[in-house]
């Protein structure tokens, strides 16, 4: 069954959707959209590093994303202008990565596949990495769910309950870096942020509890992943962007439906 490239692509897309959607809810609730962009753009530098040192791709991406995310988190704790800082880091990380890749002598790298994903080239090994990483992310988020939610409502509230907001932030940062490492082959470094934010935002108008929103976001993300995959086969469009297009369509429909139902969105 896994011999079929289409089956592998579909499984890869679903794996990424399962990991990204629940984490994406926290990205939305905690207003980390720009932070997740900064982290995922750093992935290109991770790609360059992996190729230069002949490391497994996921490892280099994971390491660089983690370092980038921790650096931003540490810097933004001290400075007021977090928004500006994130803008600087997000774009510089991308630019530095692109320059670094261009310096690599031995291979002519197909940058497009790292920027926008290359889901149809997913191997059995890649699939194992994607599902392994996704399982780790889901386990992490489920394990820390209550603590993460409480911290989201305010650091004082969390401290009073005996929790450590800094530790929970670290959990989120690690999960984010893992998702980037897992998703880069599916949607590419540029569009990972979209896969995090859009399904969660689309689920919002119909959710009454955080758990409900995460479940619905996961469903919508899987729908977008499969819909985008088949849409791209049909139209010969690149798969990563097609997945994000379907997600954006679902978001638009959800906003419309939410408005008609008189809900806030």
């Amino acid at each position: 069954m896994l011999d079929d490239f289409l089956t592998r692509a579909a499984l890869a897309a679903v794996g990424v959707a399962l990991a990204a959607a629940p984490l994406g809810c926290f990205v939305v609730w905690r207003r980390l959209a720009y932070f997740s962009d900064a982290t995922s753009h750093a992935a290109i530098l991770g790609v360059a590093l992996s190729l230069a040192l002949s490391l497994p791709l996921a490892l280099g991406v994971l390491a660089v994303c983690l370092i980038a995310a921790l650096t931003v988190a540490a810097l933004s704790g001290r400075s007021q202008a977090t928004d500006t800082l994130l803008g600087v880091v997000a774009h510089s990380a991308l630019a530095v990565g692109l320059v670094a890749v261009s310096f690599l002598p031995q291979v002519r790298v197909d940058l497009q596949s790292y920027l926008f994903g290359d889901i149809l080239a997913v191997s059995r090994y890649d699939l194992g990495m994607i599902w392994g990483g996704a399982a780790l992310v889901v386990a992490l988020v489920v394990w820390r769910w209550s603590a993460l939610l409480t911290t989201t409502l305010g650091p004082e509230l969390a401290h009073a309950a005996g929790l450590h907001p800094a530790r929970e932030r670290l959990v989120l940062t690690m999960a984010l870096a893992l998702v980037v490492a897992v998703a880069i082959q599916v949607v590419g470094a540029l569009l990972i942020g979209a896969l995090l934010v859009i399904p969660a935002a689309a689920a919002r108008p119909f959710a009454r509890t955080p758990e409900g929103m995460a479940a619905l976001a996961t469903g919508l993300a899987v729908l977008a992943a499969l819909g985008g995959l088949y849409g791209s086969l049909w139209t010969d469009a690149p798969t990563g962007p097609a997945i994000v297009c379907v997600a954006a369509l679902l978001y638009a429909l959800s906003r419309l439906a939410g408005r008609f139902a008189g809900n806030r969105g």
């Binding site: 609730w29 905690r30 207003r31 209550s146 603590a147 004082e156 509230l157 919002r204 959710a207 509890t209």
Partner: protein
């Protein structure tokens, strides 16, 4: 009094280069109601955050009684509109509670019928009571209230503080309040601490109201109102209607 629930010695807190608190000695004992008053920017909330543990002391230290359970009622909740959250679910954060315990806490806080409502859609008064209900579910030894009545009108604030006094009587928990809402708060306190970056003065509400430092910070006008509003905790109680009436007079006299 037995050993304090929380004790701070020589506590200083800084933000960047600015000192928010300097050399504060503070303690609160079992069952005590302590109010911290001070003008805006006087470090009241900083003190509370340091006690909760979310603000690191620059100097000095804070010791907690072992196994101390805190109930924290924040000034407001930084809940993003994208986060759907029912009152019932909120009460179960971070530790799940039984439906019966959640309902009982809501009743004690005076909001029995709102467990299915969205937290983001509550009025200021309702949210304050839900926050109180959640704090009570922790069965706290010490209840911390940060400007808990900021969003309430004066009668609402007075009712809220009467509820706090009743809760102290029922559960025996200590209460530490931070407020600039002087007229209403001070009467309910065993002890008042007047803060302005450091402790200016400290004592029973009467002592503090007479203190020169306090008058310099808050003016003379409050003194009469305080005298009017003062009532006995441990002896007889005024009936609520009467109490309420006095309260309106206070507001006018002070204003």
């Amino acid at each position: 009094m037995s050993r304090p629930l929380i004790e701070a010695k020589g506590l200083s807190v800084r933000y960047g280069g600015a000192t928010a608190l300097s050399d504060v000695d503070f303690s609160i004992g079992r069952g005590e109601i302590v109010t911290v008053v001070g003008p805006n920017g006087s470090g009241k909330s900083t003190l509370l955050r340091a006690i909760v543990g979310s603000e690191r002391p620059f100097a000095g230290r804070i010791t907690r009684a072992p196994g101390l359970r805190l109930g924290y009622v924040p000034q407001r909740l930084a809940i993003d509109p994208t986060l759907p959250l029912t009152v019932r679910r909120f009460l179960g954060l971070p530790r799940r509670t039984s439906a019966a315990a959640a309902q009982e806490a809501l009743e004690r806080a005076g909001v029995p019928d709102i467990s299915t409502r969205q937290v983001a859609g509550l009025s200021g008064g309702q949210l304050q009571r839900v926050l109180l209900a959640r704090a009570l579910l922790a069965e706290p030894d010490l209840l911390l209230l940060d400007e808990a009545t900021a969003g309430l009108d004066q009668p609402g604030a007075a009712a809220f503080y009467r509820r706090i006094e009743d809760l102290r009587a029922e559960t025996g928990c200590a209460v530490l309040m931070v407020s600039h809402d002087l007229h209403v708060v001070m009467s309910a306190s065993d002890r008042v601490i007047c803060l302005n970056g450091h402790i200016c003065c400290e004592g029973t509400p009467e002592v503090v109201a007479e203190a020169p430092d306090y008058r310099r910070l808050f003016g003379e006008g409050t003194q009469g109102a305080l005298a009017l509003y003062r009532h006995e905790h441990r002896g007889h109680r005024h009936d609520p209607g009467h109490h309420h009436h006095h309260h309106h007079d206070d507001a006018r006299a002070a204003g």
